[in-house]
Symmetry: C2
Subunit: 205 residues, 2 copies
């Protein structure tokens, strides 16, 4: 079974467990003749894929009334993958979504690591530091690097922990946040788990 | 008594209670003949002021060992103004400093409203919203504007409130945050209060 998560710049494949990526710029999806179950956040690619009868859009099998209109399909599929958890997808933005008994309860969006580092650097060259994910966030900072790390990470940590739920981390920066959320489960392929769960539910043929 | 808080772009005066501003570009500080007690974060202006014998730098009367080396003098003076409080100075950056029994316990730095709004907009045009300071932050968001407002404001609120201390708000965006920190005291002239407190302590002549 071939699964594909189409982002803004890449096709991410799970081809029977083999994970690989192709560039949106160069990859021609019509070269695949087998069935491909996909989701797509890329407005330029989705029209092309919808015109290929072996590319099956899993968005068509989701009860969208559970979510909100402008919510990305990748975020929705990550929610579908869990029953009771707070899902943190740490990418260019960090989305945080709460699912209780299989129901989406709402979520929020926080800037990603790279975006936030640039934000501090743009405010002042004196705040142009990398975040220190090893920093002890139980101590109030007394230096600039820890002061911005605390500002970015500790505020986020305190809010997430206040919900008292199991945490699932995914996305490119999942392992950085695992240093902070020590009890969290990391699942880099959460999207593919969500996609498989939907396929099993609806058994499209 | 004339007090002056020199920032990167302006001289902020408290002239016997009259508050006004002059541009760093055009104002000539040597035209004032009376004594002026000042603090200055502007590296280009401080040399000039130190050469004027009636401009008295209050930084010289602070026990800097209580603070850290790269901490701005404006942040230090705001801490000197309080005995037991968490001081939030909401400007281009938001500094949050804890003072217990007159001792600085540490602090953190969070991006300001304008910087954070630009950060979301730069991540995606779909996140290009103003923050909604009227939003009910006890509800998990189900739309994009509330999702970024919650990401920016609620994470910050939860962390600040976790310290269980009286809150003093200052800086250009103090009134926006007063909508969130309903019990906080707003003191737009906290820096001048801190400066007066130091003058009373040391009585320089």
């Amino acid at each position: 079974m071939i699964l594909c998560d189409v982002g803004n710049s890449s096709f991410h494949f799970d081809n029977n467990g083999e994970i690989y990526t192709q560039s949106v710029e160069t990859f021609n999806p019509s070269q695949i003749l087998e069935d491909v179950y996909f989701i797509c956040v890329n407005p330029h690619v989705i029209g092309l894929l919808n015109g290929l009868c072996n590319w099956i859009n899993l968005a068509d099998f989701i009860d969208m009334s559970k979510y909100y209109e402008t919510m990305g399909i990748d975020r929705i599929i990550a929610c579908e993958a869990v029953d009771n958890a707070i899902v943190i997808d740490a990418g260019s933005a960090i989305t945080v979504d709460i699912v209780k008994n299989g129901c989406f309860e709402g979520g929020f969006i926080y800037p990603g690591v790279k975006a936030m580092q640039e934000t501090y650097a743009n405010i002042s060259s004196r705040l142009d530091y990398s975040f220190n994910f090893e920093c002890d966030l139980d101590i109030m900072p007394k230096n600039s690097q820890d002061a911005i790390t605390y500002g970015f990470v500790r505020t986020f940590y305190t809010e997430v922990m206040s919900h008292g739920m199991p945490i699932v981390l995914t996305g490119g920066d999942a392992l950085k946040f695992k240093k902070i959320f020590k009890e969290a489960k990391v699942d880099k392929e959460l999207i593919f788990s969500g996609m498989k769960k939907i396929i099993q539910k609806v058994q499209p043929c």
